[in-house]
Every structure is written in structure tokens, then in C-alpha cells.
Symmetry: C2
Subunit: 457 residues, 2 copies
């Protein structure tokens, strides 16, 4: 396989890093400038992330305004903060002016409020106003994602008019659709530019447009927007205000970032932490993100310990029972987490919808009975062979079955119930499942053991 | 807020379901046909998923070939199987002929091999060959994702030529770029159609194209491809063969599905199951997906039980120690999982790259010391207040600190090591972390307790 064909981002950045290091050693500032300003901004942003602070400041200073703007947009939050800290407010505001309004709003949103306000006052008033209008919207809604630049024509226009509108567009970024609006500025259709190119200039846009236009309200949550893009394979969607008037456009590349972000968020929540720790990765910051759930987990497992303590008579009588505490807790936890994860994902992707709740729960519980029977029989056998105690064997087997069934039931129900009451299932489910199943498991197992002991001994 | 503005997919499907049900009740087949054939295919696919099998067959029969093709492409695997089961092979092959070659390959890939082969023999030979060529590639590579339809011009062409090529393109789907190639069919540039429209017809394409073309080899893994799209904000990328010749195109809408799929895969793996259970949701199928990891977990936690058993002298002496087994195991497991999740995500998004391994590990361990100290002090205090035993308090506190530090170290190292050796960190890490930390936790805690007991009593 030709090595050169396997291009990947990491290799590109690595190569750029080597070239940069060499040119710094040679002190060839002119060439360095030429190289940095012709690279893709995402690669430059990565380069800036990887070098030490002094080099970072030096290299950033070599970027022309457009490239500096793009590199800032592509930078992660810690790098962004490090760079901005060293910049004169006036220079920063000149750079921000070069950004698309939605990117500018995102970058300013990531700065602290004082810095952002200072940049805005230094910016040209028209651009500052555009950005300020975007900053009003919640970052994770249609309004927060949209850019106010779009190309539109009235529904009475011709294909030729639409092409002219594309030519006249002052914004330098590429568009993929022209939006068609009625007298009230409400979107009534979309046309891909490819379709415009294929049509005859004298044709009416109404004839060639896709009239089944789906719009995004600016309050719409970004998760819902991402779902629409995936579902209908859009490259861009029109955003409308409360009167249904076209106010912006959301593009597929921004939505890809949203999908990745939302997924990451769910990941972190299920593990009991959050994305803040990635944005501000100081030791204190990370600890602050993780502590709450660890403390809740600690409280929960201390309760499980309390249950063990309360059964100490039973445990003292048949000490062997203690050896199976980990397996009972682990199996309850794992099978509950599996059911929970599948349900949370199903809710995210829309596979589990309100109409299918009963079917989902029944299928999970039926599976749990099967899994519980197999694992229960296995654990029972191990207990008997290991210690030769029939009673422990029976007790481990039965409680394993019960614990798995109950844990799976909790694992599938909790996210559905949380979702029902408008709580994000991902945040509530992971921690909730683990704790409740630990306590449940210990209680069922030792409770059953105590009952059986009373009965048989 | 105007209710009509908040459009979402679920509401659209619900409305479609109501209309369909009403029209079936009215027995108005003509209107039903008209409605179904003008809806977006993704909505029709969802409708088919939600109705019973008889209605499904009836409604699918009302779709014209293009809509039937699109609806099959958008269907999930269980619905696809249910529909295909009831179709004549000849009708199915006519429908598959209507699909884009990459979609046809995906659908055939989801059928069983016999059915797929039959459909291929019944298809028009030219189309069958195109699809067959795509089926050669692994589904999750550049070759598996690409469609062989693209618009290209030679680098000596003018903007006018490129626009003519777009007009002449027989494929009905929309394109967003024209690819520019050299004499050997190797891509040397890309031009967005918007840029073509803005340029003058007599200009050379070489003047307006983006010459920094990044290509995808057809062996490239889809995860890497998705990362490139996200990183560089592409709407489409050219795919090349082993000689660097243009053979296909990948579009952003397919990549969005890939991102969602890869994320889902990681989710399932971390919870110890896999996506097969979503594709084939029978009770036996789900149990088969989940069992392997549950059995591994069972083995691991039985080992932890063995450790407890081996310390039974110590536990018999100070029974109170048993009450803290759950909290020691839970804290090790949770803090290890947090570190592991953050590292796995970092590897996926490229935030944790090879150059940053040491920094990542050190930061995690430093955080663990902080978290461990806080939790250890807390648990120590609880133990002392609860039972009034200084020795248990000291023992719980110190081992909590040690367990958290070690678990976090394992949690951050395991995915890095797995990644290093080409094993997917997501599949290996979740289960591995939980088991090893359970055993580690019990061993450290009871080992320390035994040592302290010997020393002090």
C-alpha cells in the first residue's frame, strides 16, 4: 500500500510540526509565514495546541488576519484562552471581525464576559451588532447554531434571478442551497445550486424548488436539529423566527460538530462526569466535574454496606456467603447498565419512541429472565463445587436470577421515566442504576440467605 | 409560541400515521397512494416500522419504485427484513435498481447472502456490476461508503466546461463539488459549485479550484474519514484507488450516519454489549450480545470473592470491615471508569494524541490523589463515627486513597495501551477496568487491614 495515500489528520499535523520546528531553527521567518498561512486552519490550530506557550505566541503572530481568525475558530478552549490572553484587545477584535458571525459568537461565548464585551465595543458597529444578536440565543439551539448569511429569492423569481443572487452574494463562504421565500419572508422552498445550474434560466424557481421545506425554529434544541439533518440528509436548513420569517441558515458541517458534542456529553454523563473537564483541564477543574457523582456513589455504596452490616448474624453463621457479594453486585450492576445504555441510545436515536415503551420493557425483562437463569445456574454450580454447600449454591443461584431481572427492569425503566419527566436520561441513569442495583442486590441476596437459613437450619 | 413552528420528526411521523390510518379506514387507496409517495422517505420508513406486518405489506405495495427504493434505504434492519420477506425477488430487484449504487450495496449487504445474490442476478447487468464492485469493499471503509457517481473535469478545463459537466451529469442526485483531475485521473483540486457560479466561464478551473485536495483511500477506516470531515468542514471528499486515481465520492450526509454509528458502537462496547442487538432484537439475539461480557464479569467478580474468602480470618476478627467492601469496590470502579471514558473519548476525538500520553496520565493521577484524599478522609470519618473503631477508619481511608489512585491509573493506561497495540480501546477498556478494579480494590483493602491488624492487635 502506498504510504502517501493514507493521509490522516495526525500525520498532517505531525509533518507541519516538523517543518515548523525546522524553520524556527533556521530562523526563516518569511518561509514560516508562507507555510502557516497556506495550511488548513484546523491543522494550524492543532499545531498551536501542541507547541509551548512562547512558540504559540510567536507562531500566532505570523498568521494573517483571516488565517488567525480561522485558527481561533478551530482551537479548543484551553488553546483559545492561552492565545487570547497574550493578545492586545484591538488586535483580537480585528481578528474576530474576520470571522463568520456565528463563529465569532461561538468564540466570544467561550471567552469570559469582560473580554467578550471589550472585543465587541472595539469591533465595527455593524458586525458587532450581528454578533450580539446571535449571542442572545442559547448556544445549543437553532439560534445559537445559525449564521445570518444566506442567499434568498422571492418565489416569483426565475432560475436566472437565483443564479444572479448567488453571484451577488458578498459573503465569501460557500452556499449549497438558495432559499425561496414568500412576501412575508417565510421559506416556501429550497433549491440546491446544482439543480439551479441544470435548470433553464427562464424557468420559475417555484418549478424547480423542493417545496416540502422543513424549517428550524431558533428555539429548537440542537439535538433535534441534528436528528433532522441525519434523517433527511440535508446539507443546510433554514432557521425561522417566531413569525416563521427566515433569519438564518444552519449547515451540515456545524451539525457534525453538534452530533459529536452531544454524543460526548452523553458519554461523560453515563460515566458520571461532564465535558467541562475537557474544556478546562486543570486538576481542580477535573476533580470538580467528577466529585459530585463519586460522592453520590459513595453514599449509595455506604448504604449497601449498611445492609451488609444489618445481616451480620447471617454472614457470621455462613461466612462463605460473603465471597459471593462481589459477583451479585457486579452482575446486577452490569446487566442493569447494559439495559440502561441500550435504552438511552434508543431514546437518542428515536428507535425507542413513546409508542414502543411497553414492547421495549417486556423485551428487556424477557431477556433478563434468560440471562439470569443461565448466570444463576452457572454461579450456583460454582458455589456448590467451590464450597460444597448446597444452601449457598441455591441461595446464590436464585438471588442472581432475581437481581438480574430487577436490575434490568430498573435499567430500562429509569431512563424511560426520566425522559418522560423531561430529565435527561443520560445524566440521571448511569449513577442511579449503579447505586440502586448495588443496594438491591445485597438486600435480595442476604435477605434470601437469611430466610433460607431460618427455614433449613 | 406558534405550535406549527416546532416541527420535529416524531410529530411528522405521528401525523402521517394518523392520516394513513384514517385513509385506510375510508378505504381511499388513491389518496393513500398520493400521500405516501409525496412524503419524505425517512418518514415513510418510520411509518412502516410502526404499523403491523399486514399493513406494512399493504402500504409498501402502494409506493412507486423510487419511493419504495428510498424507503428501504432509510429502513432499519428489522423492518427491512420484514418487508423483503414478503416481496417477489423480481420486484425487489426492480426496486434495488432504483437506488444509488452505494445505497443498493448497503441494502444488499444487510440481506442474507442468498437473497442478495438472487437480487443481483435479476438486476440489469450494468447496474449489478457497479453494485458488485462496491460490495467488494469492507462496509466501514472509504470504499464501502463511497458512491461511484461524481462530476469531474480535467485540469486544463475552463469554468464553463465544469458547468457543462454538471449539466450533462445523468445522475439525478445533487452534487456540491466538481473534482479536478490530471492526466492519470488523480484528483488535483476541488471546486464548490457556488464558486463555479461566481467565476467567469472563460476562467481556467486551475485558477478557481482549491488545490490543497485531501483524498480518502478506499481502505481508509470510516472513523478516520469522519474525523477528516469534521475537521476540515467538507461537504464531500474524493476517494482514490491504490494508484491515486479518482474512483468515488463520499458525502457529508453519509458521514453523519457514520459518526452516529461509531458513537453508538463505542457506547455499547463500554457497557459490554454490541449493536447487533439493535439490528436483530430477538430475545436470544440480545442475550447473545450481552452474555460474553457478563460471563467475563462473573469470572472476575468470583475472583474478587476468592480474595474475600482468603481473608476470612481477618474479616471474622473485625466483621465491620465487610460493611466497607461495597464502597471500596464502587469507588475504584467509578473513578476508574471516569478516567477510562475521558481517555477513550480523547482518543476518538484526537484530543489525546500520541504526543500527549505522559501529560494525560500525569494529570489523571494528580487528580486521583486529590479525589482520593477527599473521599478517603470522608469515608474514614464515616467509618469512625458509625462504628467507633479507629482501626477500621484508618484502614478504610488509606485504602480508599490507594484504590482510587490505582484504579484511575489503570483507567487511563488501559485504553492508551490497547490503542497502542491496535485494539479498540472502547471494547477492551470498559469490562477490563471494572473487573481489574474490583479485584484490586478488595485485595488492597483487606490486605492493608490484615497488615494493620497484625501490627496493632
Amino acid at each position: 500500500m502506498d504510504e502517501k495515500l493514507v493521509e490522516n489528520a495526525e500525520a498532517r499535523v505531525q509533518a507541519l510540526l516538523e517543518v515548523t520546528t525546522a524553520l524556527i531553527a533556521l530562523d526563516d521567518e518569511a518561509e514560516l509565514k508562507a507555510v502557516l498561512n497556506t495550511q488548513r486552519a484546523a491543522d494550524v490550530a492543532d499545531l498551536l495546541r501542541l507547541v509551548d506557550e512562547e512558540t504559540q505566541e510567536f507562531l500566532f503572530g505570523l498568521l494573517d488576519e483571516t488565517q488567525a481568525a480561522d485558527a481561533l475558530v478551530e482551537s479548543d478552549i484551553p488553546t483559545l484562552h492561552a492565545i487570547v490572553e497574550e493578545l492586545e484587545p484591538q488586535i483580537l477584535s480585528d481578528i474576530v471581525e474576520e470571522m463568520e458571525p456565528d463563529d465569532a459568537a461561538d468564540v466570544l461565548g467561550d471567552l469570559n464576559d469582560e473580554d467578550a464585551a471589550e472585543v465587541l465595543t472595539l469591533m465595527a458597529s455593524e458586525q458587532a451588532q450581528e454578533v450580539q444578536e446571535l449571542l442572545v440565543h442559547e448556544e445549543d439551539t437553532g439560534g445559537g447554531l445559525m449564521t445570518p448569511d444566506f442567499v434568498l429569492v422571492h418565489k416569483s423569481a426565475t432560475v436566472g434571478d437565483a443564479i444572479q443572487a448567488l453571484r451577488d452574494d458578498e459573503d465569501t463562504s460557500d452556499h449549497y442551497y438558495v432559499f425561496v421565500v414568500d412576501d412575508e419572508m417565510r421559506p416556501v422552498g429550497t433549491i440546491s445550486i446544482h439543480r439551479l445550474v441544470r435548470a433553464q434560466p427562464h424557468q420559475a424557481v417555484e418549478q424547480v424548488m423542493d417545496g416540502d421545506v422543513i424549517t428550524v425554529a431558533y428555539q429548537t434544541d440542537q439535538e433535534e436539529i441534528a436528528r433532522m439533518f441525519e434523517r433527511y440528509d440535508f446539507m443546510a436548513m433554514p432557521v425561522v423566527d417566531e413569525n416563521g420569517r427566515l433569519v438564518g441558515r444552519i449547515t451540515a458541517d456545524d451539525v457534525m460538530d453538534v452530533i459529536q458534542e452531544e454524543n460526548a456529553e452523553d458519554f461523560y454523563k453515563m460515566a458520571g462526569t461532564n465535558q467541562d473537564e475537557v474544556a478546562r483541564p486543570s486538576i481542580l477543574g477535573i476533580a470538580r466535574s467528577r466529585m459530585p457523582w463519586l460522592l453520590v456513589g459513595m453514599g449509595g455504596s455506604l448504604l449497601a454496606g449498611g445492609v451488609i452490616e444489618s445481616f451480620k448474624v447471617t454472614l457470621a453463621e455462613v461466612f462463605t456467603l460473603a465471597a459471593f457479594l462481589p459477583v451479585i453486585m457486579a452482575m446486577g450492576g452490569s446487566s442493569g447498565l447494559q439495559a440502561c445504555t441500550v435504552t438511552v441510545r434508543g431514546l437518542v436515536t428515536g428507535q425507542v419512541s413513546t409508542g414502543l415503551v411497553l414492547r421495549t420493557v417486556l423485551r428487556e425483562v424477557a431477556t433478563a429472565i434468560l440471562i439470569g437463569a443461565v448466570c444463576g445456574a452457572g454461579a450456583s454450580l460454582v458455589a456448590y463445587v467451590w464450597f460444597g454447600e448446597t444452601l449457598v449454591g441455591i441461595c446464590v443461584g436464585i438471588s442472581m436470577l432475581l437481581v438480574i431481572c430487577l436490575s434490568v427492569f430498573v435499567g430500562v425503566s429509569a431512563p424511560l421515566i426520566f425522559h418522560r419527566f423531561g430529565i435527561d436520561p443520560a445524566v440521571a441513569s448511569g449513577p442511579f442504576i449503579t447505586i440502586s442495583n448495588d443496594i438491591l442486590g445485597v438486600f435480595i441476596y442476604l435477605g434470601l440467605a437469611t430466610t433460607l437459613l431460618h427455614y433449613f437450619l
